[in-house]
C-alpha cells in the first residue's frame, strides 16, 4: 500500500450541496492521493453518501470545486471530459443496481462495449477474468435475480471494474446484505485494496477500516469532523464527536 506519487487524483474544496433549505454538505475539503484508500464513517444523514456522489456528479454540488484527475467537474464540464471522468470512476451502490433484464455477463460488458467500443468477444473475455477475480465465474450467464445479495454485489464490483477505473467509490456496499454475505464482499474489496486503485469507501465496517484504510474520515451533519490514520483515529480520537461516535458503535 505504498503511495507512489504525491499527485492528487481527487481534490475537493468547499463542496456544498443543498436540498432546498437543507444543507447536506457544508463545505468539504478533501484531497486524495493516487492509490490512497479512504474510509468515510458517520451517522445516517451526515452527508457521506452525498459527498461521494458529487465526485462523479450523480449529485451536482451547489458550491465549491471538485477536481478529478485534473478535470474540474461542474456544470461547464464538456461532455467528453465528463465521459472521461465517469470512465475513471467506478461506483458501487448500496442496492447493487444491477440491470435486471441483462445477464451477469451482459451487465458487465454493457459499458465497455457501448462506451469504450470494445469488441464483444474481448469484453466478454475481460468480464470472465473479472468474474474469476470476484469468485463467481460460474454465474456468468444467470440473471441477477437468480443470485444472492452478496453475489449481486460482487457482480456490481466486477461491473464497475470492467471500465478499468482509477478510482473506486463504494457507497455502503455491505449495508443491504445479510451478515453472512458481508464477508465475501469485503474480501473482494480487501483484494482490490492491494492493487493500485484509489478507493473511497463509505461503510460501517470498522474491521475493514482498521485493516485496509490509509485514512479514516468522520462526517457529521455535512461537515468533516476528523480525519486521521486508522490507528490514531480509533485509539486516540481528537474530537468529542468522534469519541461519541466510536462509543456508540464499538
Amino acid at each position: 500500500m505504498s503511495i507512489d506519487t504525491d499527485e492528487m487524483i481527487i481534490d475537493t474544496k468547499g463542496v456544498k450541496v443543498n436540498f432546498g433549505d437543507f444543507w447536506a454538505l457544508k463545505g468539504i475539503d478533501i484531497s486524495v492521493r493516487k492509490g490512497e484508500i479512504i474510509v468515510i464513517l458517520g451517522p445516517s444523514g451526515s452527508g457521506k453518501s452525498t459527498f461521494i456522489r458529487t465526485l462523479n456528479r450523480l449529485q451536482p454540488h451547489s458550491a465549491g470545486t471538485v477536481v478529478i484527475d485534473g478535470i474540474t467537474v461542474d456544470d461547464d464540464t464538456t461532455v467528453a471530459d465528463m465521459k472521461y471522468v465517469r470512465a475513471e470512476i467506478g461506483f458501487v451502490f448500496q442496492l447493487f443496481n444491477l440491470f435486471p433484464h441483462l445477464t451477469v455477463m451482459e451487465n458487465i460488458t454493457l459499458a465497455p462495449m457501448k462506451v469504450k467500443g470494445i469488441p464483444k468477444r474481448e469484453a466478454e473475455d475481460q468480464a470472465m477474468v473479472l468474474l474469476e477475480r470476484v469468485g463467481i465465474p460460474e454465474q456468468a450467464y444467470k440473471y441477477p435475480s437468480a443470485l444472492s445479495g452478496g453475489q449481486q454485489q460482487r457482480v456490481a464490483i466486477a461491473r464497475a471494474l470492467a471500465m478499468d477505473p482509477k478510482i473506486m467509490l463504494f457507497d455502503e456496499p455491505t449495508s443491504a446484505l445479510d451478515p453472512e454475505m458481508i464477508k465475501e464482499v469485503l474480501d473482494v474489496m480487501i483484494d482490490l485494496a492491494k492493487e493500485d486503485v484509489t478507493m473511497i469507501v463509505v461503510t460501517h465496517e470498522m474491521g475493514f477500516a482498521m485493516a485496509v484504510a490509509d485514512r479514516v474520515i468522520l462526517f457529521d451533519e455535512g461537515e468533516l469532523v476528523e480525519q486521521n490514520t486508522p490507528a490514531e483515529f480509533f485509539d486516540n480520537p481528537q474530537h468529542k464527536r468522534t469519541k461519541l461516535f466510536l462509543e456508540q458503535i464499538l
Binding site: N56, L58, K83, R86, A87, I89, G90, F91, F93, L95, F96, N97, L98, F99, P100, H101, T103, M105, E106, L110, A111, K114, V115, Y141, K142, Y143, P144, S145, A146, G149, Q152, A156, R159, A160, M163, A176, L177
Partner: protein, 552 residues
C-alpha cells in the same frame, strides 16, 4: 362440490348448493336420496315429454324436435337443437322439482329462488340461441362467401378466375395470373414466427401442437370442402399443409434450442423472433404490392412481367416463374379486403404504434422543448379525438399533407393512422412504465458512463417494456376491435363485407343476421386469444423474479 367423484354425498352437496337445503318436515336423512331420485325422474320426464299434452307444461325434447322440423330444419339439426334445449330443460326441471319436493324455499329461500330463476333463464337463453343457430339461420350465406370474407373481393376473383378455374370460361373475363401466391408468401413466415414464439414459451408441446393443428384443419376445411367455392382447392390445401409442416419444424427447433440452452439464450431468441415479426409485417406489405424498386430488381434478375403475356399464359404456352410473378404488378392496397385487411391494419397499429409510442414516450419526457412540445401536442390531440374523426382525417386531409412526398392509397393511410393512434396510447402506457423505472437503474447507467440516449435505450426502455407489456397488449386488443371502423370509409374489411353479404345473391336476401354473428365470433376469438397471450406474458414476468438488486 366435486364433479369427479359424483357419489351420493357429493351429489347431495351439489343439489344443496343449487336448489337449496331441504326445508320440508317430511325430508329425513333416510329418504333424502330417494326424494332426489324422484326429482330427477320427474325432471327427465318433463324435459323429454313436456308439452305433449297440449301445452300443459313447457315443451320437452320430442315436442321441440317436431316443431323444429315443422319449421323446416333438417332432422339432424332438429335433433341437436332438441338435445341442447332438453339438457337445459331437464336441469331447470330438476332444480324446480327438487325445490318443490324437498321444499327448500322453507329453509333457504334466496338460494332456492335464485336457483330456479337462473335455471329457467338458462333454458330461455339456450333454447333461443340454439333455435336461431340450428333452426332459423341459413348459414349458407356465410359459407358460400367464406373466401370473400377472408381475402376480399379482388383476391377472390383472382382465385376463381385464373387460368384453370371453372369460372374462367372466356379468355376475356379471366385473370392472366393468380395473384394469391402472395398470400402464401405471407402465410409461411407468419406461421413460422408463431411456431418459433411458442417454442420459446417452455410449455408442454401438446399445448401448442394440438390447438395449432386444429386451427390449420379448420382452415383446410374452409378451403377444401368444395360446396360453394369454384377454385381448385389443391393450392390452398398444399400450401396450408406445407406451412403446417414448416411450423412443426420451426417449433421443434425452437423448443429443442430453448430446452437445451440457458435462459439468456432463449431471451435472445425471443428478441430475434420479435424482430422477425416486425420484418414479416413490412415484408407482407411489400410482397402484396411490391414497390418499383423490387419489380425492377426482379426484371434485372431476368423476370418477365406476366401482365404483358396474358394471351400466351392463357393459352398455356408460358408458365410464369416466381421471378416473373415478382416482376409483375402487385395487388393495389385499395383492392385488399376481408379479414386480411383487419389483420394487416391491426398489425400496423401494433408495429408502427409501438415504434411511434416509444419515440413519443421519450419525447414527452425530454427536457428539450423541441422534443417534448410536439410529443405532448400530438399525444393530447390524437387521444382527445375519436378514432372515427382520425379516419376521416386520414381520408380527406392527410392526402393534402402527404401527397407532395408520397401518394398513398386509402388503406396505407389507414395503416399510418392506426399506427399514430395506437402509438399515442402506447406512449402514455410506456410513460408510466418509464417513470416507474427505479432511479438506481439510471444512476448505475450514468455512473458507468453511458450517454443519456444509451441509458434510455439499454436500460430504461427494456425495463419499462417488461413492466407494461400486459397493458400494451390490451391497447393492441382495442386496436384490433377498432379495425371494424374501416367500413365507415368504405374499405371492404371483414365487417363491411359481412354486412353486405345478403346482397351477394338473391337467395341470401334478408339473411343479414348470420354474417354479423360470425363477425362477432371471429372478432371475439382473436381478441380472446390476445388476452390469453397477455395473461401468459404476465405469468412469465412473474416467473422471472423482478428486481435484481432491489430484491435484497
Amino acid at each position: 362440490m366435486s364433479l369427479r367423484g359424483l357419489d351420493t354425498d357429493s351429489f347431495l352437496e351439489l343439489e344443496e348448493s343449487i336448489a337449496g337445503k331441504p326445508g320440508g318436515r317430511w325430508v329425513t336423512p333416510s329418504n333424502n336420496t330417494q326424494l332426489s331420485l324422484l326429482a330427477i325422474s320427474l325432471a327427465l320426464a318433463c324435459g323429454l315429454f313436456g308439452g305433449v299434452w297440449e301445452g300443459f307444461l313447457p315443451n320437452g325434447f320430442f315436442e321441440l324436435v317436431a316443431e323444429a322440423e315443422a319449421e323446416g330444419a333438417s332432422p339432424l339439426y332438429a335433433q341437436i337443437f332438441g338435445t341442447f334445449s332438453a339438457i337445459a330443460l331437464v336441469f331447470a326441471w330438476w332444480v324446480t322439482m327438487t325445490a318443490l319436493i324437498k321444499w327448500t324455499p322453507g329453509k333457504t329461500r334466496t338460494t332456492a329462488l335464485l336457483g330456479i330463476v337462473t335455471a329457467w333463464i338458462i333454458v330461455v337463453a339456450v333454447r333461443g340461441l340454439s333455435h336461431f343457430v340450428l333452426v332459423e339461420a341459413d348459414w349458407s350465406v356465410v359459407w358460400a362467401n367464406r373466401v370473400l370474407l377472408i381475402v376480399g373481393q379482388q383476391m377472390t376473383e383472382q382465385m376463381t378466375q385464373a387460368p384453370g378455374s371453372e369460372s374462367c370460361i372466356a379468355v376475356s373475363n379471366c385473370y392472366g395470373v393468380n395473384q394469391n401466391w402472395r398470400l402464401w408468401w405471407i402465410l409461411y413466415p407468419t406461421f413460422a414466427i408463431f411456431a418459433a414464439a411458442y417454442g420459446t414459451a417452455g410449455k408442454k408441446p401438446w399445448r401448442f401442437l394440438v390447438p395449432f393443428t386444429l386451427v390449420i384443419f379448420v382452415l383446410m376445411l374452409v378451403s377444401w370442402v368444395p360446396s360453394e367455392i369454384n377454385f381448385h382447392s389443391e393450392v390452398p390445401l398444399t400450401n396450408l399443409l406445407k406451412a403446417m409442416l414448416l411450423s412443426y419444424l420451426v417449433y421443434g427447433a425452437s423448443y429443442y434450442y430453448c430446452s437445451r440452452s440457458e435462459e439468456y439464450k432463449a431471451n435472445r431468441l425471443r428478441t430475434y423472433i420479435a424482430l422477425g415479426a416486425i420484418f414479416t409485417f413490412f415484408f407482407a406489405i411489400m410482397i402484396m404490392n411490391p414497390p418499383e424498386l423490387v419489380k425492377d430488381l426482379a426484371v434485372t434478375l431476368g423476370g418477365i412481367p406476366p401482365q404483358g403475356m396474358r394471351e400466351a399464359i392463357m393459352a398455356g404456352d408460358v408458365v410464369p416463374s416466381t421471378l416473373d410473378k415478382l416482376a409483375g404488378d402487385g395487388i393495389k392496397a385499395s383492392q385488399w379486403g376481408g379479414l386480411f385487411v383487419n389483420l394487416i391494419v391491426a398489425t400496423a397499429g401494433c408495429v408502427l404504434g409501438f415504434g411511434i409510442g416509444v419515440v413519443l414516450a421519450f419525447g414527452r419526457q425530454s427536457d428539450q422543448p423541441f422534443f417534448s412540445l410536439p410529443s405532448v401536442a400530438l399525444i393530447e390531440l390524437v387521444r382527445s379525438g375519436p378514432l372515427i374523426c382520425w379516419l376521416w382525417f386520414a381520408v380527406f386531409l392527410m392526402p393534402d399533407l402527404m401527397d407532395p412526398f408520397y401518394d398513398a392509397e386509402d388503406i396505407i393511410r389507414m395503416l399510418l393512422m392506426f399506427g399514430v393512434f395506437g402509438g399515442c396510447y402506447i406512449a402514455e402506457v410506456l410513460r408510466g412504465g418509464l417513470q416507474a423505472v427505479d432511479s438506481g437503474q439510471k444512476e448505475a447507467a450514468v455512473a458507468l458512463g453511458l450517454s443519456p440516449f444509451q441509458t434510455k435505450m439499454q436500460v430504461e426502455l427494456p425495463n419499462a417494456v417488461r413492466t407494461t407489456l400486459p397493458s400494451i397488449v390490451s391497447v393492441f386488443i382495442g386496436l384490433w376491435k377498432d379495425t371494424t371502423l374501416l367500413f365507415i370509409i368504405n374499405i371492404l374489411d371483414f365487417f363491411k363485407l359481412a354486412k353486405d353479404l345478403p346482397a351477394t345473391d338473391l337467395r341470401f336476401l334478408g339473411n343479414f343476421l348470420e354474417p354479423l354473428y360470425v363477425t362477432a365470433i371471429v372478432f371475439w376469438v382473436f381478441a380472446f386469444y390476445l388476452s390469453r397471450v397477455s395473461m401468459g406474458i404476465e405469468k412469465n414476468l412473474g416467473l422471472v423474479r423482478e428486481g435484481g438488486g432491489e430484491a435484497a
